[in-house]
Symmetry: C3
Subunit: 158 residues, 3 copies
């Protein structure tokens, strides 16, 4: 496989300790990706691997910053899998445009940016300059399946 | 009226027990819809009918899953009214692109996807394949007017 | 400076009592703005001036509605600075398309629309009809750096 983005993706999967090669489960009546006008919209991703959400709970109480960052990276990896499935390869990504990162947050937890940085860093590591993006990070009350992080994005594709 | 989407819309309005024919009230200095580059952006909708928000409260405590789903459907119906007003008819919808569903959630409530499914199902029932969409569902601390659900969307139009 | 939008921007800065002429600090590995297909995406802005977030806390308990509105205006001013930096001038703005306003909210605080109105009003005062927009306002559990408000937007540019 000469696709260096896919090679870097696999390196990240190995580092995180997960296999992202299976089908991705969806939690409702919607589609994972949809392309219009050269922009691929990607549904909100929780850190699910196979049928398990790998980090559940609330950042600042039962989930540490490090585990929330781990979760954010899994969400970003899932988004990448979906892009590759929709477009055939990560090479189709011209530019990640916008990323929204929702962190389930305890009242005193204000490190939503630090959680999101873990996903942002991974995007740039895998995609290079095409992985830079605008971003919004907020702390929410709760997320589907009790996940600690959810992430969605829009990506310009060839 | 030969527009089958509008006929299906009316059937859903009858099922929900509301009349959506009046003007839709807006809570601030913004517009309900705005079109650019073939995409219609729709402002966040709470489940208001006339001047009343029909389901207020917090999912998981004073609002059941069923009532939150009812609210999500009312939000989706309002969005449809706004599309029809902006474009003359629901026939203009080529594809719903992205939907965000915010559910006011008690600490232990994790069925945000199930709430959002009620809106997603209704979109597909009324619009057919054009109603499928990408989606993000999160649980928030509070919503305008105490509403239990808020929903916004972007739609590709002819 | 004959640019009346920039003149009006300066008048708002004076009224708010801040100097927005310095570089804007960013809290993570992302970019403040990114343009694609005639749309400028703007990252989520907290009410930071220089290195200080000027209003921290929770609307409804330690932050009044008036202070949250002040914060929303600072967020909107920051977004304007970023547009002017990216495009050379506020004259490039054809239309603000969508604005999302996240207010950190106490359980009983339901005036998210009123908070967002302060930002919406300011957008229209500075940009005129080009400042009208679609909007989504939600109440969240927490925000980066403890900010009371965060705001992002997408803007059509020439």
């Amino acid at each position: 496989m000469s696709d260096t983005r896919m090679v870097r993706f696999q390196a990240e999967a190995t580092r995180l300790g997960y296999d992202f090669s299976g089908p991705l489960q969806i939690g409702g009546n919607y589609v994972s990706t949809l392309k219009h006008g050269g922009v691929l919209h990607i549904s909100g991703q929780v850190p699910r691997v196979g049928s398990e959400v790998v980090v559940v709970g609330e950042a600042g109480t039962d989930v540490t910053l490090e585990r929330a960052q781990h979760a954010a990276q899994v969400c970003a990896m899932r988004a990448r899998v979906l892009i590759a499935q929709a477009e055939g390869s990560l090479d189709a990504v011209q530019q990640v445009l916008s990323v929204r990162v929702y962190t389930r947050s305890a009242p005193g937890f204000t490190q939503q940016s630090e959680v999101a940085n873990a996903a942002s860093d991974l995007l740039v590591r895998v995609l290079g300059p095409a992985g830079t993006h605008t971003r919004t990070s907020v702390g929410v009350a709760q997320l589907p399946k009790g996940a600690v992080v959810e992430l969605d994005m829009a990506v310009a594709v060839a």
